[in-house]
Symmetry: D2
Subunit: 391 residues, 4 copies
């Protein structure tokens, strides 16, 4: 059973994660985690913060000579910016007399509901944790999960399919292989594999920035190499689709999630939605379509898993929205924290790594094993049995 906790505030000393339940002897490269953190910080339309924080993890425990020890893995991402916030974000001591408290909630943020839920007179207490900065630990945890999946040749990529009103032309990218799609997304500043759409997306972002506005988008995560049999229909909380959807919606600013055909499946007749099954002695079972997005009955079916998520525009606008002061009750324009014009490409990277965690969790449940060697044996034996039945 894989589990984790993260902690950290945007301007506190450090972001910390503990992940527990990894098999022992799993090779874990610090550089691979830092690479995911770097990817999270890219994308056209990112602001100031991305420049000052080049995130690097530090392993605090659970890893020895670049391998897991079976024990919980702890890592920290130190906030370089903390030194500028020492008096405002000190863990210990008393609040300074001249502390500027945040009492003007920003619409679309956790500020107001957070302050009411937790009885805060300083909304900074909420916004520091609710900040998207904290997705760094989610990515780090996912980047570890990903190194487990790597051992079993399960790969993930993500790409942007929409920024504001601009959508990719599906016809232009449907013939791309996983590797091609991934390569194109990696080399695009908006993670878009369709060059025409890419150009338009960049213009939309630039225009939004110029207008003091923001734009959201839709990203797609694709996972290949997933064995048949992760997740289950036996209880709702065992379903792989439910777990992916919960995890995706758990990322800041995500307002929609869909798998395979998703909402389009509601429009089409059944005969165009479901994926016919074919068999061939050489290939075993295969499908010619993947409307299910790799999951049938809550279980991975061996096809690539395809998940999309919709991100709302970042709510911190340079042209701020009407709000009020919780102390004085005066009408006000919402306070500005520094912000990006568009974070959808970064969200795609986050989504990729969050999906990696969900898959690793389901993978560990199915295959058990306390060491990577044992897990490999269990996996091989299952795969052989499945292949035998499909031959």
């Amino acid at each position: 059973m894989l589990r984790y906790l993260t902690s950290g505030e945007s301007h506190g000393p450090a972001l910390v994660a503990i992940i527990e339940g990894l098999p022992a002897n799993l090779p874990l490269q610090e550089a691979a985690i830092n690479h995911q953190l770097w990817r999270r910080q890219q994308g056209h339309g990112r602001g100031y913060r991305m420049k000052i924080e080049t995130d690097q993890i530090e392993f605090l425990s659970g890893v020895r000579f670049s391998k897991t020890m079976g024990s919980p893995v702890a890592l920290a991402v130190h906030n370089k910016d903390h030194k500028n916030w020492l008096s405002r974000m000190a863990p210990t001591g008393d609040a300074p007399d001249d502390l500027a408290r945040v009492s003007k909630p920003r619409p679309g943020h956790a500020d107001l509901p957070g302050a009411l839920k937790y009885e805060f007179d300083d909304m900074r207490n909420s916004l520091e944790r609710a900040s998207a900065r904290n997705t760094a630990t989610l990515v780090a945890v996912g980047a570890i999960a990903r190194q487990l999946l790597d051992v079993f040749s399960i790969s993930l990529c993500s790409h942007i399919v929409q920024i504001g009103p601009v959508k990719v032309d599906r016809d232009k990218i449907s013939a791309l292989s996983f590797e091609e799609l991934s390569a194109r997304a990696e080399s695009s500043s908006v993670r878009c594999a369709d060059p025409d759409a890419e150009a338009k997306m960049i213009r939309v972002i630039d225009q939004a920035k110029e207008d003091g506005n923001t734009v959201g988008g839709v990203f797609e995560v694709i996972v290949t190499g997933v064995p048949v049999g992760l997740g289950s229909y036996v209880m709702p909380d065992r379903r792989l689709d439910a777990r992916l959807a919960g995890a995706m919606m758990g990322i800041q600013a995500i307002k929609g999630v869909e798998i395979g055909l998703g909402f389009e499946a509601a429009t089409l007749p059944g005969s165009l939605v479901h994926d016919a099954l074919f068999h061939d002695p050489a290939r075993g079972v295969y499908r010619q379509t993947n409307g299910a997005g790799g999951i049938e009955g809550g279980i991975s079916n061996g096809e690539p898993i395809v998940v999309r998520a919709a991100m709302k525009p970042i709510p911190t606008l340079y042209k701020p929205l009407p709000s009020f002061d919780l102390e004085t009750k005066e009408a006000y324009l919402a306070a500005i924290e520094r912000s990006d014009a568009c974070a959808a490409p970064a969200a795609a990277v986050i989504g990729e790594n969050v999906a990696a965690y969900v898959l690793a969790e389901a993978f560990c449940e199915k295959f058990g094993g306390d060491s990577i060697e044992e897990m490999k044996r269990n996996f091989a034996s299952y795969q052989a049995r499945v292949a035998e039945r499909l031959r």
Copy 2:
């Protein structure tokens, strides 16, 4: 902490649920649960099974004189059809020699991944549990949760916003109050509050049935009376939006979930997405829009919660899809189990009750309390404090 387990097969002796963690002394009406089960069985386009099973729950434990006892509540929904399946679905004894095993997987169902995951030579073992029949216990659990929410004036309704290609005209229903919307949905055979769309939806369903085809749809669940402060941004798994999305995607045949503006939020600029905050001494805080769908930063913000889910067409088609026999490997057309032409209206009722459970769970976490009296005191004290801060 609220938790539950369900069990049951479509043609087994009974569907059973145990729900644990309810406060003591909560009034629990059997009739209210049966009413939700009845609602689940309605809707234009339902088939044979809905006619033979008029589901009724039996309380087996945890309830005395129509009140909870603090102890786990168990209930059973007996499968009236089980008597026709005694030899094929007997819990005990050996399989009959002439048992007809299911070896031809139906595309879009759990049949094939289930058989490979669990090493079944009879896919009935999968399809019996994966069947949407088992949403009856989900509804029963939700119907209990709902009676808890009732005490605190939290109400839910659902309506259909799309069947196949037909969508409601939002302009025609946007002015409706919660009560009006709910009443219209209840009196519509497709749970649609827009009479013009309703007529078209019925035609779409009838046409699909005639064609041996099926159609899906999109439903919307609305929850009013939710206090500020359920869920949290502190960890992804505490977020109310993540939990709702996971639960909704956990319902059979759901392929997409969105909250508030959902996917549309990816299209619009930030200035049109976020809900400006206003204050008035009499009303306290208010908003003029609800693009957030009642959740900001993973926390309920006091506005109605709005969730939509997309249901794919039921995969059991009378014009079956290509498949193959797992034993013989011969190409085949998928076996037909009896089926509905459209189950989206029923899915809406299921979604409503599933959402009720998620909200009750978050409610119990926030307010604690072992009796409904204690919970009421805790709730009143919090609400008074919130009102005081917003005055």
Copy 3:
């Protein structure tokens, strides 16, 4: 991941359990579960209730042709006595006007803390669920776990080592094999393998009954065939010893738990406590002592697991203890519910089955697998690897 919920009141319609996470295709014999329930009802010194309720389970779901289906298994034990309690324990309807409420708490029971915690004006609401009657479902769940352990040649037995002041003579039983010890315990009316102690124990029980008093005792559970490697030191809640201790203390009336030497380990010097390790090419690793009780560092070490638990005397005395009426505040003697003079032999059977569940849970975690076939392959591969390293 194995999990379960139980429900049920002593005089309600039924006791119900759902156990989820069992591998598919596991043979499950109803008779084997009923046998454990029968064993739970035996023992010198049992009272009236044991005679009227010969417990039998009914499978409601999750089992087909005596094999698990991978889906949750639900079972009910119907309370035959419920028919005599219809008006007092009706789940539905209103309380009768002449309902006799319990307002006089019995010392040593949940009556008073339960009534205060849950705001009950009728302590029956607490005592019905807190009753040891509800260990029937614990035993049933354990009896299922046991059939999983059986597949892997893991066996459990229990015996009584103390009743009131009478203890077994360890010298008389230390030479007994697991099978001999088990056989003697099974054939003794107090589950005692030392005939001299057995005779004295029976006299102690008879005397207590004559005096309107009760006596407790200490039982020992032994588990053989446990592979090296269940549980872990990596987190406290993964430790096998912690989980066994929690589960044992979770049985009604248990006040102490010890593993291996237990409290005696606090008295002896280290040189007499720890089990020296020896190696022999034929036997692999072996120990000549088992002071650790089969668990080192929270992990099973391959030796038999030995757990003991102390049961307090049943608190319902025919010579009742001083108490008071919560309504009138008058001093009173505690109300008498029918009772046994000694239930320690039954507690041993309960402990055995509770231990079986804990081991099965840890077993499933380590070996994963969704079918018993897959689990067997995983187990065999691990055992081969361990043997190879110890050769």
Copy 4:
């Protein structure tokens, strides 16, 4: 819901804990946590390590101006000794060519079962995490929980009742108040409140050290001010006694746990075990005995909670036990890691803080609330209601 994860190796960079679910605005003193860590390092008979590591926590997140923020709290205890282990315990890079691997398992430790479970060729991977060093984070987590309990006037103390064969004279300490008992324990180098026994205990420890041997002991934790109603009988895993027993047995080297009379309850007749209830208009309900140790039916009953745990002697003996080399299979004497002659007084401090966590967890469940202010209101309202019923 309170939850935590810890991580850390004995000679790794740091020990880390994340605790999540604490109410916001709870005052949290770093010094109070460091004080508990300091207490853990005291005691006659401690060895070298206790001298080089004066543990100090560093808050990494979740705390601002000495108050909780509602978000997860992360803390680190840096291992000062790590600098001497850089090449042997480096998280990253490759193992040095001349790395001395541990292949000789020490009896009584996790070394051998750990190496087999996790497929380690270097038992250091197990012993580093299994080390009692890691109780530092358990204590830190408990020390935080304790500051929550403090707000509600719930206090804990611990004292040693046995070291090796020497037991306290209960008559000498039974008249002591909680404060006196606590004060005496604090000022004793073996945490013993009975001066005569204390002197003998010190001699036993000194003798053991001289003999190259070790001794264990029994400690008792007492908790006062616990409200009626924590824990429950409704499910085994909700029982306060079960949770305390599991947590205590989860501490390294603990082999037995008992509550109230514990094992003695198995010896005595029922009439001498259970605590009669008395009522007085001024005092409300009261008892003259506390055989139950403050827990009836798995629920706190308002009396002090009394838990004892038996610690085995530390297994690392300077006169080492027979063992063998897992690589060469040669017989060998177990490798010596530096060790204490007796760690029971430290274990008492650990037990105290572990108990604090369990109580805080049950407290949060019962009273809910997201801020300490809300929790206080909920608590006061419940306490008033209980008092009203007992008046």
